[in-house]
Symmetry: C2
Subunit: 368 residues, 2 copies
């Protein structure tokens, strides 16, 4: 099965072998040694000297951790959103009592740093900016560097980033871009089954943590830091997933970050060019097209659900559908993590065979 | 390695093989079919017709879910505690703003239903009772049936139960005992690596859910129920662990609940009799001794940390240490999940060899 959804991604066999290892004591020396190795590797990928804390959760748990560890009820925050995950991050903050100013951009477009600049200038009471780096629902990758630079012009605001579907696949320079808390999840570019997520915390974020009054317990990164000092996590961790992450980091670091990023660029480019060459239209603004997921418009006359069903049942190819109002209107090709151009070519081949059966004739260029 | 801590427990090879399977789409038909199977099996073990929701977290996450889904800030609740995990559950409720009346019993003792009765009679404003079924830190298993009956005498109070280290190893009759929300975790008797937890919700609990005002997002069981209806979880689940749980349930149900409970009883009894036969003293009140974990006093003159270290390094045996003020003073033998009497006999043999080297002479009865 060619699993090409935007996470979980397939995992290398060595990773799966590690995931299937027998349990160990999560409060013993072997786990502590592994955690130290993982911590070092993850910080390298995050390009940071900040603390990185590990949680047992899905990506949404790490997003919740960004919020509850740095904010207090009533805090005014800017919730930048370009899609479903940006909306989710803002909703989490609202759920915990933040006063969220929502700055929404059309789905398929990137966030405009100029608009963020205006919003912050108009409201000096804003303490934090919530932003999605790579919006999985639309296949748009925000220019996080420019956004961060824009926010920082306004002072010591917290920059809280959902980098779940970008980090480890495309560059995220946590220290250089001065990002305060950054969430990622191992089921994405890290090439590991879901279950473990990470959050980095800058000195500014820790300062905010000391004053933050939103309730936090399971996702308390301060507790995670205390236990990390003795090579543990506060609560029983998903040990199997840590085993996998340990091995996957070895593979990633051996390939080298630059090569990993270049590979994602090539797979992203092949997905976009292949779809366009077939006569299909991309959903996302190409200037900000994501190198981890490509959203493609379902051609007129075709039902997107029929397409993903046929691909799955008859062509061994699993793609993502559209979320919310895009259900049936787009499909999404995940190209992150354990992926090579041949995997993407196989997706394109499957599409070029399935689409005509559903009434759409791909251009000759791609079908050849 | 004979891993005998009170969770994670070792896993059967078939379970580990399943855990190491390649990823699938968590929003596709294969996951939905698996979730339906798991749901059915788990409800059988819970002995309930209530909804059971699945979370990707450690056990503490499920404990947090008990609280945030049923209570509002300011709610007066009784926090019954007989050890570290009872204290934790009360602390979670306090963190989220509950007004917790703490009813503490000496570590090593069980909760006295008579005292609970008095506490509830004295304060009719109490809306919920937090209780640990099996206290992992002390090896005491509360008489949950009597406690629940006592609470119910006082009306429609919520009974919120941490059954993380009991459910699936000893009887927990959720419906018969009228328990409202009950948390468990798959790294215990379920014989699966950590990462997935469950919470059952009674009709009374759902009614409380509708009015509960504590903030909840990641651990929102209502969202979990919505997605469960389409065979999904709201957030990306720890798929590998679900694979394992699916296979482990097959093993548990084939053995049969009664046989599973009887096996835990035999292993618990062997641990206790073996330790006593060696001249060691049990920490817990024997009338309420847990059949999943046995806490043993470290004999005078021996340092508990030296003992667990020697057992690990020289006898391939991993036991739990004491928590908090019991560190170094007790050791704990986990006997839950994938365990047979031979595993416990091996622990006793290792103890009978290690203890003399640390200055304690086991009684002849056990050394023979």
């Amino acid at each position: 099965m060619n699993l090409r959804i935007p996470g979980p991604t397939p995992c290398p066999p060595e990773v799966l072998q590690a995931v299937g290892r027998q349990m160990i004591n999560h409060r013993g020396p072997e786990f502590a040694e592994m955690l130290a190795r993982i911590d070092k590797g993850v910080k390298h990928v995050y390009q940071t000297k900040n603390d990185v804390l590990f949680l047992t959760s899905g990506g949404t748990g790490a997003m919740e951790a960004l919020v509850v560890n740095t904010l207090s009820p009533g805090d005014r925050v800017l919730g930048v959103s370009i899609g479903s995950f940006g909306d989710r991050l803002a909703s989490i903050a609202e759920t915990y009592g933040a006063d969220v100013v929502r700055l929404k951009f059309e789905w398929g477009k990137a966030a405009d740093p100029g608009e963020i600049d205006k919003a912050l200038a108009a409201d000096p009471s804003i303490k934090a900016v919530l932003v999605t780096h790579n919006e999985t629902s639309t296949g748009v990758c925000n220019d996080l560097e420019s956004i961060a630079r824009t926010v920082r012009k306004h002072g010591d605001l917290l920059i809280l980033v959902d980098a779940v579907s970008s980090l480890s696949s495309v560059p995220v320079c946590v220290d250089e871009w001065d990002l305060d808390a950054v969430a990622s999840g191992c089921q994405k570019g890290w090439m590991v089954p879901p279950g473990v997520t990470m959050v980095s915390m800058s000195a500014r974020a820790w300062k905010a943590y000391e004053q933050a009054k939103m309730p936090r317990f399971y996702f308390d990164v301060g507790k995670a830091l205390d236990f990390a000092k003795r090579g543990q996590t506060p609560w029983t961790p998903a040990i199997s997933i840590f085993f996998g992450l340990d091995v996957a980091l070895g593979i990633l670091l051996k390939e080298g970050l630059e090569s990993v990023f270049a590979r994602h660029e090539r797979c992203g480019s092949l997905s976009r060019e292949g779809a366009k060459g077939m006569g299909l239209q991309l959903f996302a603004d190409e200037r900000y097209a994501s190198n981890t997921v490509t959203a493609v418009k379902v051609p007129e006359g075709v039902d997107g659900r029929d397409l993903t069903k046929m691909l799955r049942e008859e062509y061994d190819t699993v793609l993502g559908g559209g979320q919310q109002h895009l259900a049936g209107k787009i499909f999404r090709i995940g190209h992150l993590g354990y992926v090579q151009e041949t995997d993407i070519q196989a997706v394109l081949d499957a599409l070029s065979k399935a689409l005509p059966r559903l009434g759409f004739s791909p251009s000759r260029a791609a079908a050849s």
